[in-house]
Symmetry: C2
Subunit: 319 residues, 2 copies
DNA sequence: TCACTCGCTGCTCATATGAGCAGAGCCTGC
DNA sequence: GCAGGCTCTGCTCATATGAGCAGCGAGTGA
């Protein structure tokens, strides 16, 4: 393009977006028709000369959202902007998840939720009255064997209270010593009823755990660091609902899985609404595993994780 | 403002500016009227949530331009964006000055120009055919006593040639030894004719020099470093057309001024169009002196110089 | 408890802008 | 040199948006 056209592009953009002149007025100033001005402005936007940015803690990244949804066949994706502060990013992600849940239509009658730090943050971020009468069911076992902030039942209770509803908790250890023990406990009438409610929930909200010593499963005493190291050796990239998966979303230790209490992962794959809230650099790999293996229909994440998922998927497709 | 209002602001802005939805469509999505959407968007722009920036080498800074024009009663101001590269800023300033001159209406019949590195850059940046038949007059003496790139006459000749016109040069030393010598030379018929043309020019284009050893007047051999040191002691902040001025735009050495060849500064003050092109950190003080003492009607500068001028003027007014 | 004021809303009508089309001009190839 | 095709333009008509106004609701004060 000739230099004088560049100049006209820039001037038109400045007069329109900074001086708030109409296209008619700009046409008079630049001695071209208003139709030409319109084309110049469209070109300026197309070429990135005009840069429009939404700057706010609740802003999202629409382009990455669309790319994720299209690439993985997701019903929706929510991507929050990256900052240098991991805690700010985690908070923004939790807030975005809470926003999404509150805006979800139809509002789920029964919501299955996992427990952990991320979902607890989502619970804190939810506004009072986000729903009117919702049953919130805890979908994975979580009777804390050590005393920490992430109280499994508290998360479900908070979400239910803020939604003017009731909570059904699973005050059972997340992982038991023997498969038979799990089967007996899950067969118990009240436990079976809770698991039935979990299985028939209209929507799920969960996060994923990192396969490292920082996991709440280790912190809660269900697994040792050595356990996790072995799981990683077997290919584990993280856990969903306490169940360790590899990069392809497959269970890495069938025996451990058989001792794990709560909803099975196959149910997430068949659920019409499964919201995964997964952000932070440590969770890049498990986030990728979740979206690429159909474990969620909606992903709430941060910009850096979204980019990592899209980049790695591209590499895998060209391999 | 309530948190839910913030969220609605952000969503509306994202849907409008990033997803290109109409206000009607956004209203349906957010369950409000299109008039409410319009108000939300206006608020988002007002509060800076929507940030629109023009990114291009020829972009300008409209807000600073208006502030300079309003504060100093300038007919116009042109401010180019700051970058970290002083040479890029100088180039952008020269290009902006060339753009401005080429767009000036009516096109001046006679243009008085100074000589120096900055105006030579403007000459290089001018497009061929920027005018059709213009007389370009050199307004300050400039017969180079040493051989350097900034050839005084060449600048006026380049501008004239690109404008399809003719040049009238002043091949006389910028500063003479004695006032009487200057008077004799200026009385010479051909020199007097050139000065008369300079005095009756319809517009002027000039830059300012820094009062330091890097000045083209020192480089050209008219002054020594000691001369300049003395001038600075007397309060000089820089020179305009070879004439040293202080922070208030007043001549600091009347004797030196009497020996200086060319247009007097008073003529710049009465000219309807006097374009000063002054950018770079070293020229902040002389730029301020020029605009605050009515030596120009139009200033072409960079963002940093503009901010410095506005800041210092504010301090002086509150003193 | 009532009245008044202020702020926010929805609406009408005018203005601003865009989509699509037809025509013109320019460039390339035969 | 002519013809055809492509690109860019101005325009018409439809759509999108804004300005200003009237009405309603909420809050405050007497």
């Amino acid at each position: 393009m000739a230099a004088t056209d560049d100049l006209m592009l820039v001037r038109a953009a400045e007069l329109y977006y900074e001086d708030n002149k109409t296209q008619d007025e700009i046409g008079a100033l630049l001695r071209v028709t208003r139709w030409k001005v319109g084309r110049l402005l469209a070109q300026a936007r197309d070429e990135g000369i005009v840069r429009i940015e939404i700057v706010h803690p609740r802003a999202r990244r629409a382009i990455l959202e669309r790319q994720l949804a299209d690439r993985f066949g997701l019903a929706d994706a929510v991507v929050v902007p990256q900052t240098d502060d991991p805690q700010a990013v985690a908070a923004a992600t939790a807030t975005a998840a809470a926003d999404y849940l509150a805006a979800l239509r139809p509002i789920p009658r029964t919501l299955g939720v996992s427990w952990g730090r991320t979902i607890d943050s989502v619970a804190q971020a939810l506004p009072d009255g986000w729903a009117s009468g919702v049953t919130v069911v805890q979908v994975n076992g979580g009777l804390s064997l050590s005393r920490r902030g992430s109280d499994a039942a508290a998360t479900a209770v908070t979400i239910a209270q803020k939604g003017g509803g009731t909570a059904i908790t699973l005050p059972i250890p997340a992982i038991l010593e023997r498969r038979e023990t799990r089967e007996v406990i899950e067969a118990d009438r009240t436990v079976a009823a809770a698991l039935a409610r979990a299985d028939s929930a209209s929507a799920y909200l969960y996060s994923a755990g990192v396969a490292d010593a920082d996991s709440v499963l280790v912190e809660s005493g269900y697994l040792t660091k050595d356990d996790v190291t072995q799981l990683v050796r077997k290919g584990a990239v993280g856990d969903v609902l306490g169940r360790y998966i590899d990069a392809f979303g497959a269970i890495v230790d069938v025996g451990l899985d058989a001792r794990t209490v709560g909803l099975g992962l196959d149910r997430l794959r068949t659920a019409p609404t499964a919201i995964a809230v997964i952000a932070g650099e440590a969770k890049h790999r498990v986030a990728h595993a979740v979206v690429s293996s159909g474990l969620c229909t909606i992903l709430v994440t941060d910009e850096s994780t979204a980019q990592s998922i899209l980049r790695h998927h591209q590499i895998e497709e060209s391999a």
